[in-house]
Amino acid sequence: MAPAPSPTHSAVTLNVNGEKYTLTVDHRTTLLDALRERLDLTGTKKGCDQGQCGACTVLLDGRRAVSCLHLAVAAEGREITTIEGVADGERLHPVQQAFLDFDGYQCGYCTPGQICSAIAVIEEHAAGWPSAVTDDVGPEAGPAPLTADEIRERMSGNLCRCGAYVSIVQAVARAAAVQAETGEAAEAVA
């Protein structure tokens, strides 16, 4: 089905993982459904379709967002990164590698969202963003260390029903340490 532009459909160009896709979307189509059903990028998962689980997390202009509550038509002009776009060719992103090594998953369905979220968590922390468990949110306090409690709070928008939380937190901590060593997290959040 390739519907024509109309009052309820628009032609859009979506920039996903560095590639441009031009398609006509029903305005009702979410970014999540456009990725999965129109672009065959099924790595982004639909868990609740209501912004209540985080399985559909992608990066929009480098920031994590739930693609189920983002209309595809409104995503034009934004840089979209999905799980399919986070590795460097065959070389896994340090967060992906850590999830693999630490068994940071079970069924794997929340995993792409957890990984996209974790990539952003490490960058948000590096940019000095406080969290709900940061003792002193004052700007003079400086960035709090990325403790297990900080990781847990910052990752709480990603539910894992299998209960892989313990390993995920270990994986994120490891990936953050790896990235800190290699300087890969130096690029601050835009």
């Binding site: 305005h27 009702r28 929009l60 409104a74 406080p130 709900a132």
Partner: protein, 330 residues
């Protein structure tokens, strides 16, 4: 979700003009509440005007030492802003206590103020709800209401406002700015939400077709010693069952100034002026704090299953004010 038109606005006047007086049109910003409500069928707009890219994304200092926050500033940017964290730490904490990192990146200040209640009856279009379908009844009164209002509710609706951000903004005397086809306007946040009465479907004082352009926070030195505490049924990523934004200025053991607002207890963020009156000029001790809480909660009218909220809010007020007073004494 029915089919709808979509337009992207590039400036405020254009956005307001695009929406016009169409009751079936809605402004779309972050979409975190509106798109969800469209999926559940609570909202069925014929047209969306996308305002996310409007140049309202700045947090700026006002000449008098306050802050002006644009309507499309995201929750994340608001909570990360150095001046917000320095001057109104409870506001940063409140924003960080809400939703998740992903949602905070999407959600905006304007949308936050306009978000709808999470009452389970409101979001289930197969049943009655006076807020969603005026006159159809309020099943929460006899049904599931353990997280419903104890203050300011009516026999027509007992839903609570879900915002955390709004609680802190209410404590700090925020003023909402908006634009209409007839020009700009302002309304204090404490008057922004209408009393429930028998019209729970009428929620705000915004004129029809108005676009929120921002919020102004007047200077409030007391806010530099402020705190937001949120109680919920899991440790994160859940709406409050009770929350408190508090600021306290203690001089020589006496409360010089206090700000208190309660969350998840009413159809709007609840400014606790009765409590503030008790606090001001009284010794900064547990007795005063308890008396202040009691003064505010005297008006509480709990339902059969939410009476705990009165205890909870009383305990929260005492605990948080005690913490603030102890910090001030250090």
């Amino acid at each position: 979700m029915r089919e709808f038109g979509y337009q992207r606005a590039s400036d405020v006047a254009g956005a307001v003009a695009l929406l016009g007086a169409d009751p079936d049109a809605r402004f779309l910003a972050g979409g975190t509440n509106l798109v969800d409500l469209m999926k559940t069928g609570v909202e069925r707009p014929a047209r969306l005007v996308d305002v996310r890219e409007l140049p309202l994304d700045r947090v700026e200092s006002t000449p008098d030492g306050g802050l002006r926050i644009g309507a499309t500033v995201t929750n994340s940017d608001l909570a990360a802003h150095p001046e917000v964290r320095r001057r109104y730490p409870a506001l940063a904490q409140a924003v960080l206590a809400g939703a998740s990192g992903q949602l905070r990146n999407m959600a905006t200040l304007g949308g936050n103020l306009l978000q709808r209640t999470r009452c389970g009856y409101f979001t289930d279009v197969t049943g009655p709800c006076n807020k969603r379908r005026p006159g159809s009844g309020c099943p929460a009164l006899q049904g599931e209401h353990h997280n419903h209002a104890v203050l300011g509710a009516s026999d027509h609706c007992v839903a609570v406002h879900p915002s955390d951000m709004g609680v802190a903004l209410t404590a700090f005397d925020a003023v909402v700015s908006y634009e209409t086809t007839d020009g700009p306007g302002q309304v204090p946040l404490t008057e922004f939400y209408l009393p429930v009465g028998d019209t729970p479907h009428r929620e705000t004082a915004l004129p029809a077709g108005a676009l929120i352009t921002g919020v102004t926070l007047p200077p409030a030195p007391v806010a530099t010693r402020s705190r937001y505490r949120k109680v919920r049924e899991r440790a994160s990523y859940a709406f409050a069952i009770g929350s408190l934004a508090a600021a306290l200025d203690v001089r020589d053991g006496v409360v010089h100034e206090a700000r208190l607002a309660l969350g998840a207890v009413a159809s709007r963020p609840w400014r606790a002026r009765a409590a503030e009156r008790v606090l001001t000029g009284s010794p900064a001790d547990a007795g005063t704090f308890a008396a202040a809480a009691d003064a505010e909660l005297a008006a509480a009218r709990p339902l059969p299953h939410n009476g705990y909220k009165v205890t909870l809010m009383r305990n929260l007020v005492v605990a948080v004010l005690t913490e603030l007073a102890e910090e001030a004494a250090r």
